[in-house]
Symmetry: C2
Subunit: 122 residues, 2 copies
Amino acid sequence: MVEYIDTRLDYIFSALGDPTRRAILVDLLEGESKLSDLEIPYPMSLTAVSKHVKVLAKAGLITHEKRGRERYCKLDPRAMERARTWLHHYHRYWERKLDQLDSYLTASKIEEALKKHRESKG
Amino acid sequence: MVEYIDTRLDYIFSALGDPTRRAILVDLLEGESKLSDLEIPYPMSLTAVSKHVKVLAKAGLITHEKRGRERYCKLDPRAMERARTWLHHYHRYWERKLDQLDSYLTASKIEEALKKHRESKG
DNA sequence: ATATTAATGAACTATTTGGTTGACTGTTTG
DNA sequence: CAAACAGTCAACCAAATAGTTCATTAATAT
């Protein structure tokens, strides 16, 4: 069964729904970075970046830690795995349905062929 | 490289960020359904369901078609594949980084061992 | 022909989101 | 110490979201 009630998924998928936040995540693949070094695709204030970072942290997609006057962010891959797992289960379920449909079609074709065979003999 | 600027992904991930909409998608795995037959986990008006369906359609996650007075929805798996692909690439990139880190660590261990070896001989 | 049903549209509300600016805190540097 | 820097806080704003209700349209059933 594919679960859909999972508050964490709400946060994760919603966080992924914004291009700035996806950009931050992709940036962090290269390793940790302080806030003001993050590569942001659209110009915006540091305050705005700080808010996006908060959203990502709330979703569990990153962790962050203040060192001196700088705040360093780094990926926490577990949240992303949760999203991947959901999509994976969904996909597997979908594939299974396709298989069932396929074997149903095969079965009905066999039925049909048998019927024709019987008719030709009758 | 992992892309992050893709307006469609914005719609797809945002659509997935809501439990009602995920429920609708999971429901539709069983096959097409008319609006008023969708299994909605939280009580809400049909108008609200209709809006969620619109969001899903805009994201490309479903298609819908009016037959008589009823509107039937069914999955369009391509949008979901897009999300899966993004997460997949992201994950692969992450794994590769881990591998690099791993071989870096291995390399530095070898370095260290060699150094010790030389020292013991020197 | 009338009543019922499925869905949509319009108007409204409350909350959230994504951004801004300006003032402030704490850290580093000259 | 003073200046510059990194980040946060608070207040504000516009637009989007998630829901409501009531009226309406169009199709179906009695």
